[in-house]
Symmetry: C2
Subunit: 229 residues, 2 copies
């Protein structure tokens, strides 16, 4: 009679709350009312009310005045939504001419109305990718996620070659600046030179050299090429 067994459809709002709470929980601490409210651009009392409903539905556990933690059911529901979101993003970029800076909004709406079947067909058309265009891992249908440990480009020693995995910002101007060097997720770069004291980093990207500031280099999360994907 609970949410997981009946698989009763969740509302848009509920899916958005679960996604937000999942994201906030990744820091290791319980998600607080205020953080959730801020993330979803809602008032704190609205969040308090929804928390009560979600905990009655068994999707999360609430310690009053402390915060919330997703239950297993809640985490699975969140991951289902995140899988939908990331596959939609990947599909729109691969087949319908979207840029990785602009897909987010479209996916945000579609993730709530798409059937499981459509998602699996899109995934198939994409060759069952493991990462979305931003480099975020796509959860499996069973709810498992490969959470990789990424290293910021700013911490990679000179001489090493890495693959860009993720640009850790959603600010369009930064994304555009980064994209202008060809530094998309999946791009392989070699660190040519690294100046100390948060100094500039020289990287080689597809035969060309670029010099990046420390602030930008911190945003570029990298993995050794043989890991993942």
């Amino acid at each position: 009679m609970n949410a997981a067994t009946l698989h009763e459809p969740l509302t848009r709002s509920v899916e958005d709350y679960l996604k937000a709470i999942y994201r906030l929980s990744q820091k290791g601490q319980p998600a607080t009312t205020n953080d959730i409210a801020h993330q979803l651009e809602l008032s704190a009392p609205s969040v308090s009310g929804m928390i009560k409903r979600l905990s009655e539905q068994g999707l999360l556990e609430h310690v009053p005045y402390k915060g919330v933690v997703l239950t297993l059911d809640g985490r699975h529901a969140a991951l289902r939504t995140i899988r939908r979101h990331r596959i939609i993003e990947a599909y729109l970029v691969a087949f319908l001419g979207y840029g990785w800076e602009t897909v987010h909004e479209e996916a945000e709406r579609l993730e709530h109305s798409v059937s499981e079947m459509l998602i699996e067909r899109m995934a198939e058309a994409l060759g069952n990718p493991r990462f979305d265009p931003h480099g975020d891992p796509i959860p499996e249908p069973d709810g498992s996620v490969t959470e990789l440990v990424y290293t910021p480009l700013s911490e990679i020693p000179a001489g090493e070659s890495v693959e860009i995995r993720q640009a850790d910002t959603s600010q369009p101007d930064r994304l555009r600046y980064i994209a202008s060097f060809g530094l998309k997720p999946g791009t392989r770069v070699t660190i040519v030179d690294r100046q100390p004291f948060q100094g500039p980093i020289t990287v080689q990207v597809g035969g060309q050299s670029h010099i990046l500031g420390h602030e930008i280099a911190m945003l570029l999360l990298c993995a050794r090429p043989e890991i993942g994907s």
Copy 2:
């Protein structure tokens, strides 16, 4: 300050009501409360309530106890939704392996969450089709529709060649039966023989002959090949 000028987003419910009313209005009479309720599987009082809200928003005109007629704004909104629906259906059939009998449900949900941009990209990927997989005309972005006059296969004289445009049913068993002869919208058929008194009709489809009963032949709406598409 009205719906058309502000282009304020309509809710799912509102879009569904407008679509239903548009469909019912095509018979020439105003749509009645009962018909709308039946179409949307809602109670009559719910429809009464929504009619009041929609008429306050200027999307339709209501003569109490008589019925409703869409305003220009209302009709445009309905056609935008119908365009979305039909392009989505066409796209899913063309690119994601959906059958024309099964797309409807998926499109029904997606039509409400898809952006104008995504629709136009899908339309482009399809080569801006004028008909969906069921043979229904796709309204243009400006809200114009080519309403063609179709003739049921049961009324085409023997000897003539026509193109199937539309199967006028949504019952999956009939659609499957029809599809089993290869009689999809777009298919060209020649009427070989036509028995009187609602008798069977012999048609030639792609080199093969099939005999159809009157009931099925009535559902198959046809056009001369040179018209449309």
